[in-house]
């Protein structure tokens, strides 16, 4: 395990983070503003702030090619920020939702983005040339509760979504004039808007925290609040899936997951560290933590003086200060994202959490 890059940005939770394609800019959602950090040497320094939301920002995503930033917030709005000579220029998106927006992601084509919300809809947003405005279409049926997460299929039409009603669903978000007609896949052949290509529930029907399609798009994984990761392999349109594999772990629930290859998933969450899962259609299992247990640096205890030791025992009733977790993140990890991909898959990923840290990991 190569050393990881740790950036402790501030002492408040990071709801979401996103790196630009050149990895020189880092956007983090901090309360109701989005901080933009620029890389300077080994560190990131604060460069700009995107102000506009008046409630907690819940999602931020930088489009890798166009560089546009989309943000969404509990104030029920989403903005698309574009660079202009006088700084970042926001454009309001017509989401038409009456509850908080919870999650936002650009589609791989960057022509659309999907916003999950507490209003039991997913707003699929696209740019309308004639009105010079971002408008949205709602994916509504059969969502019965808050959408907590969305994940795009590589073809930019299929969208995986996880909800607090315990279902992970695959929708078609095909929009005429914006999308090219997608190749038929195991998920479906004809895909008009709001086609439900799959609806999956694991045994416990717990909240879904994270969903992701595999790099090929032929499998969907979702992490739920019952500490499980479920991987679905579809067989053919309108047919029951080939395999639905649910892995119940001994750990605390995962909040976010990514595929680092066709047979490997990285998931992280309330245990404050990332885990690797390996498997295929025949079965999946947890292959251990990404952090090696005996990581140097954190473990090195300073030689305590006897006076200090007794003072500690007197003040706190214990000789050692055990308020530090053994993991790099000192609190729940809320988002993990692919940072760098090489030929075979993800080679580096980044994580951000409630402790205000953004960490880049090498696999």
């Amino acid at each position: 395990m190569a050393p990881s890059e740790v950036h402790h940005l501030f002492h408040s939770p990071i709801a979401d983070h996103s790196f630009s394609a050149d990895r020189q800019t880092l956007a983090v959602a901090r309360d109701n503003i989005v901080d933009l950090y620029k890389r300077s040497g080994q560190k990131f320094s604060l460069d700009d702030e995107l102000r506009g939301h008046d409630k907690t920002v819940t999602g931020v995503d930088i489009a890798p090619n166009s560089g546009k930033i989309v943000t969404c917030s509990q104030d029920r709005n989403a903005y698309v920020w574009e660079p202009s000579p006088s700084g970042w220029k926001p454009t309001l998106v017509l989401l038409r939702i009456n509850r908080a927006a919870t999650y936002v992601r650009w589609s791989p084509s960057e022509a659309k983005f999907a916003v999950g919300s507490g209003a039991r809809v997913i707003a699929v947003c696209y740019f309308e040339e004639e009105n010079d405005w971002w408008v949205s279409k709602h994916l509504k049926k059969p969502i019965r509760s808050t959408i907590t997460t969305v994940g795009w299929h590589p073809n930019s039409v299929l969208l995986g979504a996880g909800s607090t009603d315990g279902h992970a669903r695959v929708f078609s978000s095909f929009i005429k004039g914006v999308d090219a007609r997608p190749e038929p896949s195991a998920w479906g052949e004809r895909l008009p808007f709001n086609t439900v290509c799959g609806e999956f529930l694991n045994n416990t029907a717990a909240w879904i925290h994270g969903t992701a399609f595999s790099p090929s798009g032929d499998a969907l994984a979702f992490a739920a609040h019952d500490s499980s990761v479920t991987v679905v392999y579809p067989s053919a349109p309108e047919q029951p899936p080939k395999a639905v594999l649910s892995i119940s772990t001994q750990l605390l629930p995962f909040t976010s997951l990514i595929w680092s290859g066709e047979n490997e998933i990285i998931a992280a969450g309330y245990d404050c560290e990332a885990y690797r899962l390996k498997g295929n259609e025949d079965g999946w299992q947890v292959a251990g933590s990404i952090e090696s247990a005996g990581r140097p640096g954190l473990e090195s205890h300073r030689e305590e003086s006897a006076l200090n030791m007794f003072r500690q025992m007197d003040l706190k009733g214990k000789a050692k200060d055990d308020t530090q977790l053994k993991t790099v993140h000192q609190n729940t990890i809320s988002t993990i994202r692919a940072f760098e991909t090489s030929g075979s898959g993800v080679s580096k990923f980044s994580s951000s959490g409630v402790d205000g840290r953004v960490v880049v990991w090498t696999l």
């Binding site: 045994n203 416990t204 029907a205 717990a206 019952d226 500490s227 772990t249 605390l252």
Partner: protein, 186 residues
């Protein structure tokens, strides 16, 4: 008409799409209804295993056939069955039995069910106790000296606590999270 207080109107009740007007049971995993008599006959079978000295088989049998679809009465009978098995197993045997179950096919599911019964058992024994003991004194303080205070309940609790400890060692905090998040209750 103008006296209508708009702020107190429950808007969700007027919205046909609102979750308030929606049968939430359609979202939960389907469970097959189980009749109380079935639970009772299962109890007898398990008692037989227990008399034969096969406490591990009895535990497995009880936890693999959890009557999620039974009514309150049926669930109570099954809880009593599970508690009976748990009390009949000696402390030194707990960990070996649990690790054997964990390593077998479908073991996590079985241990999750066990964790549910442990918590349900704890809830029940404290409930029975406090019902007896919450007698407000003349001082105005209610004296709940539980924590092993009640004779029968305290003993059952200590058995459940040692099972809980052993189970968390093997199935991890994940099993506790699953008790909280699982919509199928025992």
């Amino acid at each position: 008409m103008s006296l209508q207080n708009w702020r107190t109107i429950n808007v969700d009740a007027l919205d046909p799409d609102s979750p308030a007007n929606f049968d939430l049971s359609t979202l939960t995993p389907a469970v097959n209804p189980v009749s109380t008599s079935d639970v009772q006959s299962l109890q007898n079978q398990i008692r037989q295993l227990l008399r034969g000295g096969d406490s591990e088989g009895a535990l497995r049998g009880a936890l693999e056939n959890v009557p999620y679809g039974a009514d309150d009465r049926g669930k109570e009978i099954h809880l009593a069955t599970v508690i009976e098995i748990l009390q009949s197993i000696r402390q030194s045997e707990m960990s070996p039995i649990l690790s054997r179950i964990y390593q077998s096919e479908g073991g996590t599911e079985v241990l999750d069910a066990l964790m549910k019964y442990i918590y349900k058992g704890m809830a029940q024994s404290t409930h029975a106790q406090s019902a007896k003991q919450v007698q407000p004194q003349s001082t105005g303080f209610s004296q709940i000296h539980s924590r092993g205070g009640g004779e029968g309940g305290g003993q059952a609790m200590s058995v459940l606590l040692s099972w809980h400890e052993k189970l968390v060692e093997i199935a991890g905090p994940g099993s506790i999270v699953r008790v909280m998040s699982d919509r199928r209750t025992v």
